[in-house]
């Protein structure tokens, strides 16, 4: 019997189609795996079920009746419970209160029933008693728990909703093996009770351990659903990759400049917040790609190289000399440059003129005291021109420009004085196609001029088309290096999803 059915749902954010055509059918009494690459639309699909996003088109059926999920409260009333990937716990409240937060037991109308709270919460905590650690008790404030314990509390909270449909969006990322095994036992129990479970994970072994069926989403469209027993990790990855020829045809050999330039930067056993024991080298003239799913340590590594914040341990060598970056300022004076895709947070100096947005790094590297507009403009204009930046005048505020041109201004900031190593942290996020093309043409040219470039992109096509080598990240460390003809979408996903 079909419990939940979505057909032809779509959602656009402005000009971006987040979800083109989403179909999903969940039976009662199954664990249904949802899988898709970065930006394929699976999060949007989940948000539509959860009621936090309203679809532009398409229908949602629960028990064969059309419903409108108008918000999170409506989703709850319709019997949909969700585990949120971004933890939604109240730090200063107890474990018990957090587990039962959506529906605290009451005494009369006003007061919390403490006994019932402790008793009910205790039942959920007992489910994980063997694996959660002794310090996870009903009274412990959530703020004192470890990351894995918090994730367990979040799981308990979803279980406590007793909803017939449960959605788990990456529930196991912080859990250890024993905790995952226990969680899966509980999930199987729920399935046997007839509950419907949607399970999102990026770990192929987990998907094949717990799933009954799998639905693959690619580029905002549902590609197909198959029974787990009838498929293999390789076949699932092939469905995710699709027939996207032309997008990912690696050049037979990296350009000559990529091999003969000598080592620019070498990193040995670097560990920091979000990544551990990463080692690699990048040559002058080379574009080294960092691939894998979102948030597997790629950005954290780039930021650590730039000193924001610095790595905890390990060694970095720049042009033969040990490099110690304490903050961005020391990284810049050592010859590093860092372009962030989050220009609102890391890049744009809001409300200030274009000139002041292009020149801070130039002023620092040349130890300038005076900001003579003529002299600064002489430095800025060639860099802006190289990026085909469109602007009316250097004194206009940066906010008068389009997103793509704002990002070009921020990138130009780093190119007035040539750095030795350019760190690109998803630099094309939210900019239009022609700006992307301009940017990648420039990046290749910079590499040919002898710069060492490290590129992280959340768009696999950008990596496959532009990087000479790709390090695939998973869980904070490098799982595989793809070079030459190995640089295919299939291999990229294979390593990213740890298909054994």
């Amino acid at each position: 019997m079909t419990k939940l059915k979505l057909s032809g749902v779509s959602k656009a954010y402005g000009a971006t189609m987040a979800l083109r055509h989403g179909d999903l059918e969940i039976e009662a009494g199954e664990v249904h795996v949802l899988i898709g690459a970065n930006g394929s639309g699976k999060s949007t699909l989940c948000k539509i079920v959860a009621g936090s996003v309203r679809p532009d088109r398409g229908t949602v059926l629960i028990d064969d009746r059309p419903v409108t999920v108008s918000g999170p409260r409506a989703a709850k009333a319709l019997g949909i419970g969700i585990f949120y990937q971004e933890l939604s716990l109240a730090e200063h409240r107890s474990v018990a209160e957090n587990i039962l937060m959506p529906d605290l037991p009451r005494k009369g109308r006003l007061f919390v029933n403490r006994e019932a709270l402790a008793e009910t919460a205790g039942r959920y905590i007992a489910l994980f008693a063997q694996v959660a650690g002794e310090d996870l008790t009903a009274d412990t404030p959530v703020g004192r728990l470890r990351a894995d314990q918090r994730q367990l509390v979040e799981i308990m909270k979803a279980l406590a909703s007793k909803a017939p449909v449960l959605i788990f969006d990456e529930p196991t990322s912080a859990l250890d093996r024993a905790q995952v095994d226990r969680f899966f036992e509980i999930l199987r129990g729920l399935r046997n009770e007839g509950r419907s479970i949607v399970f999102i994970s990026h770990r192929m072994d987990e998907i094949f351990a717990i799933g009954d069926r799998v639905t693959v989403i690619r580029d905002g469209e549902t590609i197909g659903t198959t029974t787990i027993a009838d498929t293999s990790p390789a076949a699932v990855i092939r469905m995710m990759v699709g027939e996207q020829e032309g997008l990912a045809v690696p050049q037979d050999a990296p350009p000559a400049s990529a091999t003969g330039g000598g080592t620019a930067l070498s990193v040995a056993h670097l560990s920091g917040q979000g990544f551990s024991d990463v080692s690699f080298t990048v040559a002058r003239g080379e574009i080294l790609g960092l691939g894998g799913l979102h948030g597997q340590g790629q950005s954290a590594l780039l930021r650590a190289l730039f000193g924001a914040p610095p790595a905890h341990s390990g060694a970095v060598t720049l042009a033969g000399a040990a490099l110690r970056t304490e903050n961005p300022r020391s990284a810049i004076t050592s010859g590093l440059a860092y372009v962030s895709g989050d220009r609102g947070r890391d890049g744009v100096i809001t409300g200030r003129p274009i000139l002041e947005n292009v020149t801070p790094v130039h002023a620092l590297r040349n130890r300038l005291m005076l900001a003579s507009p003529g002299r600064l403009a002489a430095g800025a204009l060639p860099a802006l021109k190289a990026l085909n930046t469109k602007f009316a005048g250097l004194s206009h505020p940066i906010s008068s420009l389009s997103g793509g041109n704002q990002q070009k201004i921020v990138i130009a900031r780093w190119l007035i004085d040539r750095p030795d190593v350019l760190l690109l942290d998803d630099p094309t996020k939210g900019i239009d196609l022609s700006a992307k093309a301009d940017l990648f043409a420039l990046i290749r040219k910079l590499a040919e001029d002898g710069l060492a470039i490290i590129l992280y992109s959340s768009e696999d096509a950008e990596l496959l088309n532009n990087a000479d080598r790709i390090l695939v990240f998973n869980g904070g460390s490098v799982r595989r290096e793809l070079a030459g003809a190995e640089r295919t979408r299939y291999n990229l996903y294979h390593a990213a999803y740890e298909a054994a």
Partner: protein, 318 residues
């Protein structure tokens, strides 16, 4: 608002128009209000406020809830320090200047370190510092004469020096030019605006954010100290809490001049106009026999009104 009237949105234009309007109003209420001599006296008072507001302006421009509530305490303390250092003698002036600047820089440094290293919000840090200074003033005043201004200092503040204007007006003009130069034509100025409008982006572009913030508080202390020094010349002898009125007034002058409390934009030229405007307003209130308590109420209400008008700028911050 139509294109032709868009200049009305420029706070500087608004402030200048209000200055003229208030002078006309004052002259109507009390003939002679807008006489040359009277305007000169207003300008001297405005210069004292304007010098304090220069430091306040810098701290506010630097953003992150930047504000200096301790300016009044520094003004008072510095006036006492100066009075005791010169004790009515011209020869003591250089030492008095040094002592004042050191005093201002010291308390500004404490503010800056508290805000950056200890991460105490500026509002709390500088309010606490104001409490410390006020206590210190009480201790110092007990039994000790508070000192007298040297004749040359009084002359500098009150007597015409060049083109009929006293030295303090010229000092204020020089500070205005210096501030405009620093804010618009130096890397330091660009960095002040950068940390005020997007601190994190400034940090990622290599701006030493903490050091900058400490520097802004130090400068604020120094400007307040200079104002306290000049204030001694204006009043002849120093008495405790002579600087008390400057806290609220300096903030209002900055906001009136078009620098929002969220920082990152604005400048000192507007603040200068704001200071003049505020002094005229105060004078009108005195003319129509409103007591000090009433004037404070009007000032407080003015600041709240300004927040209503310019408050929307805050929401525009990314």
């Amino acid at each position: 608002m139509s294109q032709a009237l868009s200049f009305l949105r420029n706070p500087l234009v608004v402030a200048l128009a209000l200055i003229v309007a208030l002078l006309v109003l004052g002259n109507a209420l009390s003939p002679g209000f807008a006489s040359g001599q009277q305007i000169l006296r207003l300008l001297i008072v405005a210069a004292l406020l304007g010098i304090v507001a220069a430091g306040q302006n810098l701290v506010i421009l630097g953003g992150r809830e930047g504000i200096d509530l301790s300016v009044g305490g520094v003004v008072s303390l510095s006036a006492i320090v100066a009075g005791n250092a010169m004790n009515g003698l011209d020869a003591g002036i250089p030492a008095a200047i040094l002592a004042c600047v050191a005093t201002g820089a010291f308390f500004g440094l404490l503010n800056g370190l508290g805000v950056t290293l200890l991460r105490i919000p500026p509002l709390v840090m500088t309010l606490g510092m104001l409490g410390v200074l006020q206590g210190l003033l009480v201790v110092i005043r007990q039994g000790v004469p508070s000192g007298r201004a040297a004749p040359a200092l009084s002359e500098f503040v009150t007597r015409p020096f060049l083109l009929g204007l006293p030295g303090i007006i010229w000092l204020w003009i020089a500070i205005g030019l210096l501030m405009a130069f620093i804010l618009n034509r130096t890397v330091l100025g660009h960095r002040i605006y950068a940390i005020g409008s997007n601190e994190h982006a400034a940090f990622m572009a290599g701006v030493p954010v903490r050091r900058m913030r400490v520097l802004l508080f130090v400068l604020s202390g120094v400007f307040s100290a200079i104002a306290g020094f000049c204030l001694l010349g204006y009043s002849g002898s120093s008495f405790a809490n002579v600087g008390e009125q400057y806290m609220l007034a300096s903030i209002i002058a900055v906001v009136l001049g078009g620098t929002p409390l969220s920082g990152g934009k604005g400048g000192y030229t507007g603040t200068m106009a704001g200071a003049v405007l505020l002094v005229i307003l105060q004078s009108i209130l005195t003319t129509i026999n409103i007591e000090e308590s009433g004037r404070q109420m009007v000032f407080g209400a003015t600041l709240l009104l300004l927040m209503l008008f310019y408050g929307r700028g805050r929401g525009l911050r990314a």
